[in-house]
Symmetry: C2
Subunit: 398 residues, 2 copies
Amino acid sequence: MMAINSSAHHDDIADIGVGLNQATVAFPADEPLHLDSGKTLGPFTIAYNTYGSLNAAKTNAILICHALTGDQHVANRHPLTEKVGWWSELVGPGKPIDTDRYFVICPNILGGCLGSTGPASINPETGAPYGLKFPVITIGDMVAAQHRLIDHLGIYQLFAVLGGSMGGMQVLEWASRYKDRVFAALPIATAAWHSSQNIAFHEVGRQAVMADPNWQRGDYHAHGVVPRNGLAVARMAAHITYLSEDALHEKFGRNLQNRSDLTFTFDADFQVESYLRHQGSTFVDRFDPNSYLYITRAMDYFDLAAENGDVLANAFRGTRTRFCVVSFTSDWLYPTRESREIVQALNAVAANVSFVEIESNAGHDAFLLDEPEFFATIRGFIESCAAKRGLPTLDQED
Amino acid sequence: MMAINSSAHHDDIADIGVGLNQATVAFPADEPLHLDSGKTLGPFTIAYNTYGSLNAAKTNAILICHALTGDQHVANRHPLTEKVGWWSELVGPGKPIDTDRYFVICPNILGGCLGSTGPASINPETGAPYGLKFPVITIGDMVAAQHRLIDHLGIYQLFAVLGGSMGGMQVLEWASRYKDRVFAALPIATAAWHSSQNIAFHEVGRQAVMADPNWQRGDYHAHGVVPRNGLAVARMAAHITYLSEDALHEKFGRNLQNRSDLTFTFDADFQVESYLRHQGSTFVDRFDPNSYLYITRAMDYFDLAAENGDVLANAFRGTRTRFCVVSFTSDWLYPTRESREIVQALNAVAANVSFVEIESNAGHDAFLLDEPEFFATIRGFIESCAAKRGLPTLDQED
């Protein structure tokens, strides 16, 4: 009985015991964000979730940076999808990111669509959604906005900053721009610059959105329509890149969907077709198409070397942050060699860095899964940093 | 002077000296094709090009099977794009497929859009283009139509059948269905069944076409429109899969397109974006969107093991054909292990098979390029088969 119900039981308590707090902070127009493009953005709002409690010394804060289609609902039930949080296996009481001991913060990124200011927000100059009047932003701009949030919370140094994929890009940007503010950094399944192939896949997604007549040059709000089909195609294409060929083969192979034979039609005969269509159609219920354009653009623009005189090591010169770089063997979107480039740059400036390549056949999505070696790596690194930082460790509590 | 003009000169003579003949053959309604779906198709037309001359014994014919977006213009200037033929480096006088000695035949596939019957052809029952009334066809159906062409030409045994990608699937189907009719078979950069990942990419492409309102459920001809945007997106997504990450990196890296800095817009800042957009927009000028749907569907349905009691070796049992299986190291669409599966099945029935994995970083598209080891492999295999078949070889001519 317990075994059968354990999953449901887990779901029921997903929001209990993690000390969830959902909040927003609005930065006024006279304190705008100075963007990498040279433009300014203000007023702007950051929506964020916290889990656990900040200690008196404000030294136990962990910032989680989410990925392209992620959001601030790390460890609580999602308000739109009603699914448990995307990293609820990793974050919670007694988990590797232990909300009994750490104060976990996850902001919705700037440009996002779940409460932080993005292209679907109201443009104060027009009273209508920004649409394409929203400025093109960068990963650095997202991090600058988070920096304002952390200041607002009265925290000087984050104990740790972690994130996977685009979240990892933000981690790298934090560690580069605000060296004194990051004790430990965990860039996971990421890269210091977006590769040509990844730009190419993003461009396909953007063209799919823009090819949808309902996109209306970004002004779909005014027309009361949504470019659902275009965004669904974009999501389908992207989703393939998040999985490995092995994972697709093991999960679906050439299995047919609820039928015993080919139909000789264009129906979703194969399970993998049905799965992709489902991924596409559910995504559009929770994501703003223009946000998808802006965030993919920010990722494509990301190049931490270019920001630092074309020498990646310059990004980290003088750092005292402890780094743990993690990659996954079957991740072809951010392959291990791109993590090695980060590690080499950190080594070049004699930074304190651990590097772990996790054996997994789950592809890029492995960073979202409870891969035992991955979770053990994070737990171990966080514990060792806690000891160095003078925070309670598991050993002390035992 | 000669050096500067040599390329143009080469182009000018592209159609001369290869003995080009362009023809069509129409099979009447009372001789329909019996399709794998159980339906029949008739009348139907096959358009084909030939190069060189058939010998008196009719033993020197080489059939070339083209890929998804290929056509019969193997070694002559393309009538729509005005580019030289897609395999003109491989096929011509003195080339590995030597049109001075072989009679080369390349038909446009059934379901195609360059003269053979396909969804853009007139449906005799309605007097209008078939659109979605065209039956879903298979690789086996394409080959059955080619078989009718070869009968029509009075040729019993093809000296060789070769093709890459979907062309390779046709080669395998030929060697399996018509064992006595194929002396030598060269399946290149292909697989005996379409993988889950490849089905997934095709499904994205189809959904992109179908999401375009101009598609009109396949009836765009009647509406005087073309789903150009959808087909362009499909082509862009597919094109990424034809290249390797290394090739994209070397060709484009993060280079900017005709600008010195990022524009902070959604313009094609990066060369790879501009390249993909160009690939998408030029493709729609030469390809029928419904053909794209039907041909990708045929590829997805391809499973030579399933056709043979789920045992691939059964497909080749009793064969006396000589096989040369070729794969490329950086081809992630049809990776070497899928060629090995073909080789293992051939070995299981003690077939005569050579297997060569060519070192190349050009990805799947390597089969279209003048990779020296690849061309040397084809030349060597063809020469050795010619000797076995009693056809003139290069040594004899010297």
